[in-house]
């Protein structure tokens, strides 16, 4: 059995007296798709920032079973240099992996995210949804072993959301995906496991089905019940 690709133990991040993360534990199995859900301000983006090295942890342990250059983050509002074309942005994202990934992969990935017709357009003219698709393309181009997605569907229309979720599903077994989202139905659709977090603390970590208290309870109701009972969400 493969070791977990990522293990967080007691991960804590404070900003002054505010605990953005409070002894958060998480185990991410290799090849799985793991959802990370919680209300606004729960600590989802902070956790992803710390794991990707953009912020420092206050305390706790982070263990990877892969080299850190095999991890890629897509932020919640991806943005790029406005004068570059989509093709150039993805090619620039390919640069750290240029020995493993051929330049032909650029056009292919743009097609997968639905931006093939905008490949030669400058990114400055892109809508937020287009930038989000481009962000996904830049995260996937290097075929990283661990992909961190911060609300990858937030700016997408229903069709775009479905396409992105399909793309994420196809990664099962090939890469490990950790994605944060508000949209509980997305987690239920594609994720193998989920962590529910609020005020920096993990309230639940386990399988998607295991969160339900009863057979007839929906995933959404189960999460809301958890947040309202333990998480003190107002």
């Amino acid at each position: 059995m493969m070791p977990p690709i990522l293990t967080l133990s007691g991960l804590t991040k404070t900003f002054g007296n505010v605990y953005a993360l409070d002894s958060l534990d998480l185990i991410l199995d290799s090849g799985s798709i793991h959802g990370f859900v919680g209300p606004n301000g729960a600590g989802k983006t902070t956790m992803l920032s710390i794991v990707s090295g953009l912020k420092r942890k206050t305390s706790g342990d982070i263990k990877f079973s892969i080299p850190q250059n095999q991890m890629m983050l897509m932020p919640d509002t991806p943005d790029f240099f406005p004068l570059l074309t989509a093709q150039e942005v993805v090619d620039l994202a390919r640069w750290p992996f240029r020995k493993e990934v051929n330049v032909d992969a650029v056009s292919k990935i743009l097609e997968e995210v639905g931006l093939q017709d905008s490949a030669d357009r400058q990114v400055g003219g892109f809508s937020r949804g287009m930038k989000q698709r481009l962000g996904l393309a830049t995260a996937l181009i290097g075929k990283p072993q661990l992909i961190l997605l911060d609300e990858p569907c937030s700016a997408l229309d229903p069709i775009g959301r479905r396409e992105v979720l399909n793309t994420i599903s196809q990664m099962r077994g090939k890469s490990t995906v950790l994605f944060s989202t508000h949209i509980l139905s997305d987690v239920e659709d594609v994720c193998d496991s989920v962590t529910v977090v609020n005020k920096g603390k993990a309230l639940y970590g386990g399988s998607v089905s295991g969160i339900r208290k009863s057979a007839g309870q929906s995933f959404e109701d189960a999460v809301l019940e958890l947040l309202l009972s333990k998480g003190n969400v107002e």
Partner: protein, 280 residues
């Protein structure tokens, strides 16, 4: 596509690169045009004086360059595009690329304008008193060393604030503000001491504030005057630079040279410490 191409695209698909080229070209053209008018009025306008004009007018291009570089170094001002870069490249790669591209580009523009002015003025103006190549090369060498201070200063001021506007304002405040405040203080001091009749070229020897300001690294840029030294000035041992006459001394501005060599690595290290510890 790599970081180098990205920076070049940033310069040339926008107004930045073309504006800089325009300013240095304009400096060269203006130096020649002004020289023509002066030559018509007084005759025997020397080609070396056209170079003095070019070096002075090109200061405008330098200020624009400072704004462009500092705002580029403040790349963390856009959190999301900064995340794109920082998750794929090291901070060292990002900063080194920017510094090499921008400062090479600026150097190429400045010296291209210098050579253009020299060539045109050799055709149009008096060349009976030619430039002294040794002194020109010495001036270029000292000018390159003074560039290290500007590089490290801009790196440092960009590292203080995330925002590009604040970084640019801080840099300009330091570069322009210190000479202005210094000159004001010197004037006040000489007034108080009853020494206002002292020629400006001697202020740095007479004024305590002036003597202190000699250690300000940017004062090394005064050695630009060597880049237009002529044979007659070498023979007389005196150099004339915009109405100021002072001794032609290779050790001129040795104090800011020392402070440049000390301050530049310190500023660069402090900047690196701030950049490398910055969170997004």
């Amino acid at each position: 596509m790599n970081l180098w191409k990205m920076e070049l695209i940033h310069l040339y698909r926008s107004w930045r690169g073309w504006t800089l080229i325009g300013f240095y070209l304009l400096a060269s053209i203006l130096a020649v045009v002004i020289g023509i008018f002066i030559d018509r009025a007084y005759a025997n306008f020397s080609h070396a004086r056209a170079l003095d004009l070019y070096m002075t007018i090109s200061i405008v291009g330098l200020l624009v360059f400072v704004g462009i570089v500092v705002s580029s170094l403040a790349f963390d001002s856009n959190k999301d595009s900064s995340i794109f870069l920082r998750t794929r490249f090291t901070m060292k790669q990002i900063i080194l690329t920017k510094l090499v591209i921008y400062f090479s580009f600026s150097g190429i523009l400045f010296y291209s304008g210098f050579i253009l002015t020299l060539i045109i003025s050799m055709f149009l103006f008096d060349t009976s008193d030619p430039l002294n190549l040794n002194w020109v090369l010495w001036g270029i060498f000292l000018e390159l060393i003074s560039g290290f201070f500007y590089v490290s200063l801009m790196l440092f001021t960009s590292s203080i604030f995330r925002g590009s506007v604040a970084s640019v304002l801080l840099t300009l405040a330091v570069l322009i503000g210190i000479p202005i405040i210094g000159t004001t203080l010197i004037t006040v001091e000489l007034l108080m001491r009853g020494l206002m009749d002292t020629p400006p070229v001697e202020w740095e020897y007479v004024s305590y504030v002036g003597r202190t300001l000699l250690w300000w690294p940017a004062a090394l840029s005064d050695t630009q005057a060597f880049m237009s030294v002529t044979e007659s000035e070498v023979n007389s041992g005196m150099i004339s630079f915009f109405g100021q006459v002072f001794e032609l001394d290779a050790h001129f501005r040795y104090k800011p040279l020392i402070s440049t060599l000390i301050a530049s690595p310190i500023l660069a290290l402090l900047a690196w410490r701030r950049y490398s510890r910055r969170e997004i």
